[in-house]
């Protein structure tokens, strides 16, 4: 009876554990294994090369590290411009203002759309020859400002980063707004009675109480943006000439482009470790500044 009951309990979790074991744990182990091989993904022969793949990544693969820098640059714009915008809008919506809910609904539309849809629509708007933006600039009498936004190496990465910010700011906005709404209104009342003006209470109440929220948003932004790549596939495909390459695109290229499965896995591990180091540093950082 007892045994039967325990078996029945396992029956409940069996499907989940089975799928998880096959489609998560096995690939997880294989990534580490394959990273030590040179293999084209098809032929039966794999060549054990030890840490050669990693050596190549660290010593020779310049494109890999420049793609890391590109992702870092996009992340930097997301951290500053995108999050500042998100906070400003959240602060504005936290006030007693008309149409608050309307804005809340609208600002979260870009995040629910797929990156492919967003990327392809913006790609056309920003197109150098047929794009709407250049068309408008000409109609406004500013033809000198027209530009091949996505195919000029000078502007491509920044343009991609700005579209990424457009798609992503709604997240930060919602989290900031939720945070702002937990601040008791009495605090502001009390400050006003004590003679503080709006700027004082913003600086002395809002900012300090929002620091933990800001750190949370920063962590989510960094992890999310470093791993973003579908938007880039849809907008530039990584071009012009590697100028908008990011790490995950390189992993895909190693796998599908040059059929180097082992190398792709080694890149995946390297990238995963870098992300883990970043989140480790951040969690230390947030412990230090988050709770005071």
């Amino acid at each position: 009876m007892r045994v039967k009951s325990t078996l029945e309990n396992y029956l409940f979790i069996l499907p989940a554990v089975l799928i998880f074991a096959v489609f998560y744990i096995i690939p997880f182990i294989w990534v580490f294994q394959l990273g030590l091989y040179e293999w084209d993904g098809i032929s039966p022969a794999r060549f054990f090369v030890g840490f050669d793949n990693f050596k190549e990544i660290f010593l020779e693969d310049k494109i890999w590290w420049s793609s890391m820098l590109n992702a870092g640059y996009i992340t930097l714009i997301a951290l500053t411009f995108q999050n500042a915008l998100a906070f400003l809008l959240a602060w504005a919506c936290d006030r007693e203002i008309r149409m608050r809910n309307f804005y809340r609904v609208i600002f979260f539309i870009p995040p629910v759309l797929s990156e492919v849809v967003v990327g392809l629509v913006w790609q056309w708007i920003l197109d150098g020859n047929y794009g709407l933006l250049n068309h408008w600039l000409i109609s406004l009498g500013l033809p000198q400002l027209t530009h091949n936004w996505l195919s000029d190496p000078k502007t491509a990465l920044t343009t991609v980063a700005l579209v990424h910010s457009w798609k992503g700011f709604g997240w930060g906005f919602l989290i900031f707004l939720a945070g702002l709404q937990t601040i008791p209104r009495e605090l502001y009342e009390a400050a006003r009675v004590d003679g503080a003006n709006a700027w004082d209470s913003f600086r002395k109440i809002t900012i300090p109480l929002m620091i933990p929220v800001a750190i949370l948003v920063a962590i989510l932004t960094i992890l999310g943006t470093m791993q973003a790549f579908v938007l880039i596939i849809a907008m530039t495909g990584g071009g012009p000439a590697y100028h908008t390459q990011v790490p995950v695109l390189r992993i895909l290229a190693s796998m599908r482009g040059s059929s180097r499965f082992g190398y792709a896995c080694a890149q995946g591990i390297t990238f995963g470790l870098i992300l883990m180091i970043i989140s480790f540093i951040q969690s230390r950082f947030s412990k230090k500044f988050g709770h005071n």
């Binding site: 409940f12 998880f20 539309i109």
Partner: protein
């Protein structure tokens, strides 16, 4: 001397400024969508001449061509099929597991649950490479069932977490009563626990539906046969092949985006909840 008028003027000025900012951003959010939909009604000849947001004539035939010739009808149905199948699988499998994790005691319970949670937090970007190899080995590459199983796995952890949190807080009295009436464990899960967890099930359903509909990279590496592909992958293929057939592309994009926008507008509460919780635990 600061008069009341000074303060009122200042307040009005500030509010105007805030509204201008909010409205500008709101317009920027919606504008590309309006442009996409408007362009999907233009003809190929008009598309580069008529840059207006309101086309003079509406050409619905783009949708016909996109649906039939562009193959978007097929891709659309594929996307619907994958979304329904994956969400159904996730709801059954994750609610079974979450219910067991919440209600039953058995050896290995905590370690197994911890494993699912840990999986949510560790990013492994190379995993799709190994997943491809695995699917090839078990002959599920380029099959519907292979993609569905992979996508069930993707949504499993978060869904188990959400459902378990809910079950933990749910009172047990009704389940006890059902047990006394002779209901089996599966009977209680199906007849009592699932109906009671409707609010969180809605979050799980909407959150996963959004994820599956918008998923790209797994579909990209798994499918080789065009007739099996979902919309997202088909769109990038289409764009590669017919680079400047913008009206058709925009019709395809509208077909892809519209279900999500509608789902969002109607199920807003659940989406925001699911997406936020998904982000915060993940």
């Amino acid at each position: 001397m600061k008069t009341p008028l000074y303060y009122r003027t200042k307040k009005i000025a500030l509010n105007t400024l805030i509204h201008t900012l909010l409205l500008t951003v709101a317009v920027t959010c919606v504008f590309p969508l309006v442009w996409m939909i408007a362009s999907s009604f233009k003809t190929q000849e008009m598309i580069f001449k008529d840059m207006s947001l309101l086309p003079k004539e509406f050409h619905f035939e783009n949708y016909y061509y996109a649906w039939i010739e562009g193959g978007f009808g097929k891709y659309f149905l594929n996307s619907i099929f994958y979304t329904v199948a994956v969400v159904f699988g996730i709801v059954i499998i994750s609610s079974l597991a979450a219910y067991a994790f919440s209600r039953f005691k058995f050896p290995g319970r905590n370690i197994l649950f911890f494993m699912f949670i840990a999986a949510m937090m560790i990013p492994i970007q190379g995993s799709f490479v190994a997943l491809y190899v695995l699917l090839q080995k078990i002959h599920l590459l380029d099959t519907r069932i292979g993609y569905i199983l992979c996508m069930i796995n993707v949504g499993l952890s978060t869904s188990i977490f959400l459902l378990r949190t809910f079950f933990d807080k749910m009172p047990k009295e009704l389940e006890d009563a059902a047990r006394i009436d002779g209901c089996s464990k599966f009977g209680i899960w199906w007849h009592v626990a699932l109906p009671l967890s409707r609010p969180v099930l809605a979050v799980v359903i909407v959150f996963n539906a959004l994820n599956v509909w918008n998923e790209y990279v797994l579909a990209l590496i798994i499918f080789n046969t065009k007739s099996l592909m979902p919309l997202q992958v088909a769109l990038t293929n289409f764009q590669g092949e017919f680079i400047t057939r913008y009206p058709l592309l925009m019709a395809g994009l509208t077909l892809t985006a519209l279900p999500i926008i509608l789902l969002y507008l109607f199920m807003q509460k659940y989406i925001v909840k699911g997406v936020m919780q998904g982000a915060l635990v993940g």
